[in-house]
């Protein structure tokens, strides 16, 4: 039986709009894309059911967890997005430091997630934040995901050592949440 492909183009256009602009309602989205409201609403409903978009009580559309999964899977990481969202805040609290999930792929570096603390440098002493600590979360032939932690300038050496232990633990927990991709495409 033939499958119609009507509306498929809408998926890409809607997600591209959601990725590039502030959250907006379905009506605004339909107006921006120049598409029929009914079609837009229908595609949004299906994307929402699959978790690619979320809608808040005011109907504002934003990327859902499955959209974050798309980004992680683009680097070969399956299932790490949810755990990253949950644990980066925990690590920021424990380490009192700014945290980034950085992906190195060939020559390209991408920051996929980050949580920050304010005031890394110390204005009183003029000290800059120390060099960041890295812990590997996941690696394959050409891709490496690392957790990068930048402590405050005021952090003592003992604190930074403790932060190092925190980072290693969280990186290990994240790596457990990532399923290695199947080898054969």
């Amino acid at each position: 039986m033939a499958h119609d492909t009507a509306g498929v183009g809408m998926i890409g256009r809607i997600l591209a709009e959601v990725a590039s602009a502030e959250p907006c309602t379905a009506t605004v989205l339909a107006r921006r894309l120049g598409t029929a409201r009914t079609t837009t609403f229908d595609v949004l409903r299906r994307l929402e059911a699959a978790g690619f978009i979320d809608r808040d009580p005011q109907g504002l559309v934003s990327p859902g967890l499955a959209s974050a999964d798309l980004g992680f899977a683009a680097f070969g990481m399956v299932g790490g997005a949810g755990a990253t969202e949950a644990l980066l805040c925990v690590l920021r609290e424990e380490a009192d430091a700014s945290i980034e999930l950085v992906i190195h792929q060939g020559e390209v570096t991408t920051v996929l997630a980050q949580r920050t603390v304010v005031g890394l440098a110390d204005p009183d002493t003029g000290l800059r934040a120390p060099a960041p600590l890295d812990a590997t979360v996941w690696t394959n032939a050409d891709t490496k995901a690392i957790l990068r932690v930048t402590s405050r300038a005021s952090a003592q050496a003992a604190d930074r050592a403790a932060v190092g232990r925190c980072v290693d633990m969280v990186a290990a927990a994240l790596s457990l949440s990532v399923t290695p991709k199947e080898h054969q495409p």
């Binding site: 492909t5 997600l15 591209a16 980004g71 996929l112 050592a161 403790a162």
Partner: protein
């Protein structure tokens, strides 16, 4: 074999989901076979998706996720950062660090475990129920205020809040939770009276798809729950005990006044304090008496201790200012004593700091923040939105010491004179997360579920819907 007709949109979504599951790329032939999609249809869909960067198509017939996915992930992260800032997750200044912070995580493995809440995902707005253990102390009043404030702060997401107090009765709390479930709550916040006795009703809640967030009290291993929002009792027990031992230069006789015997936080703090005191062979524990976190009980017990031990008491360890205030009052009203009031521990309550500063009593405390109520509301919303949440969340707290009584190991985040609120009532619980103008006596709040802007803390049974 006849293939079931599916709209192209659904097929495209299935393609994306499958590519996520298999790590971002797949040979077209294999993907088509796995999804039971004709090759021609798959190529047509893929070409359309590739136009916007959702997919890339290689000349060797391999489909891979494209750069748009990365942009979406980054946009979502930016949105979460904004939410994080709105929730007050970004600390304005560095705290003084407890020694061995990295080891705290080692001790609390649940903090780095996560729970996928996809099964609880539902559309807004949500009805929330709070089953509170009891309303019998200023701290518990502040906890209820904090939950209510959370419901108002997140009113975009929360349609109604119902609060019930169980008066320390497990049977009552089970009945409360059943009533909340029957009233159709979408999510529960529970401060558990007895973990074993309320476990069955919370298992029933989970079966109904209602997530439970434990706050303050509960044994996580015994209760079905999504996340446990608490404050590290180890830190409270160990740091205050270490301060007292160092304040006494490792030698002296002390009275130990823990909180409520039936409450797990009190047990954990006492355990940690004893462990620390065991490391000081010249510290003698004269008596250990449970106070129920009640000021009057703390005062009554300390009067008995003063009659019995008199001048031999060199220090008093309390896990909270709720009973420390009673002990301080007993010392201050004891006309037989000639020397100063010995060092005490235990904060939370404004009066504890006022008395310590006014009468030059060395005091150290690690506040147990009622702000965990506000945090629990946020975590419950995350669970209902299908997000992944940490299994355990420890709300940040601060070490407070009267000036100049810092010790070698215990340096304060705040001096007591910076923390105390002379302008606010004695029964104010600090670290409520409700802002600098929070006054428990004039606290008024409006949400769907209460009446006349009255807090559920002012009503013996709480504020069920429509009360």
């Amino acid at each position: 074999m006849s293939r079931r007709h599916q709209p192209g949109v659904d097929l495209a979504i299935r393609v994306l989901v499958r590519l996520i599951d298999c790590g971002g790329c797949r040979a077209a032939g294999r993907l088509g076979a796995e999804l039971d999609i004709p090759r021609s249809t798959l190529f047509r869909i893929s070409r359309i998706l590739a136009e916007t960067g959702l997919l890339t198509l290689s000349t060797r017939g391999v489909l891979a996720l494209g750069p748009l996915g990365v942009q979406l992930a980054q946009r979502r992260d930016a949105m979460l950062r904004k939410e994080d800032a709105e929730r007050g997750g970004i600390r304005p200044r560095p705290p003084a660090r407890a020694p061995g912070i990295g080891d705290d995580l080692l001790r609390r493995p649940a903090s780095i475990q996560t729970v996928d809440c996809t099964r609880f995902r539902r559309g807004p707005r949500y009805k929330v129920g709070f089953a509170n253990a009891a309303i019998d102390s200023p701290w518990r009043t502040a906890l209820v205020h904090s939950v209510e404030y959370g419901a108002v702060k997140h009113r975009r997401w929360i349609s109604a809040l119902s609060v019930r107090h169980a008066a320390h009765s497990a049977a009552q709390q089970s009945a409360d939770i059943e009533a909340l479930l029957d009233a159709g709550v979408d999510g529960l916040i529970v401060s558990a009276v007895s973990s074993t006795r309320i476990a069955p009703v919370l298992r029933d809640a989970e079966r109904r798809g209602v997530p439970t967030i434990l706050v303050d009290r509960g044994v996580p291993d015994e209760i079905p729950h999504v996340s446990f929002v608490t404050c590290d009792d180890h830190t409270i027990g160990a740091r205050t005990a270490l301060w007292l031992a160092e304040q006494l230069r490792g030698a002296g006789s002390i009275i130990v006044l823990p909180g409520l015997a039936a409450a797990e936080p009190a047990q954990r703090r006492l355990h940690e304090a004893r462990r620390v005191f065991d490391g000081f062979p010249n510290i003698e524990i004269l008596a250990t008496e449970w106070t129920g976190w009640q000021s009057a009980e703390g005062r009554r017990i300390m009067r008995i201790c003063l009659d019995r031990f008199g001048e031999r008491i060199d220090g008093v360890w309390c896990d909270s200012g709720l009973q420390a205030v009673g002990s301080l009052k007993a010392f201050l009203s004891d006309r037989r004593r000639s020397g100063p009031v010995p060092p005490h521990t235990g904060g939370d309550l404004n009066l504890a700091y006022k008395l310590a500063i006014r009468h030059n009593v060395p005091l150290a405390a690690v506040d147990y923040p009622p702000a965990m109520g506000l945090r629990a509301v946020g975590v419950l919303l995350d669970a209902l939105r299908g997000r992944t949440v940490p299994r355990r969340i420890d709300v940040a707290t601060e070490t407070v010491v009267t000036r100049p009584h810092a010790t070698a190991s215990i340096q304060p985040d705040l001096w007591a004179d910076e923390h105390v609120r002379w302008d606010l009532p004695d029964d104010l619980i600090l670290a409520s997360g409700l802002g600098v103008s929070y006054d428990p006596r004039s606290f008024r709040i409006r949400y769907r579920g209460n009446r006349y802007n009255r807090s559920a803390a002012d009503q013996p049974g709480g504020a069920p819907y429509g009360s």
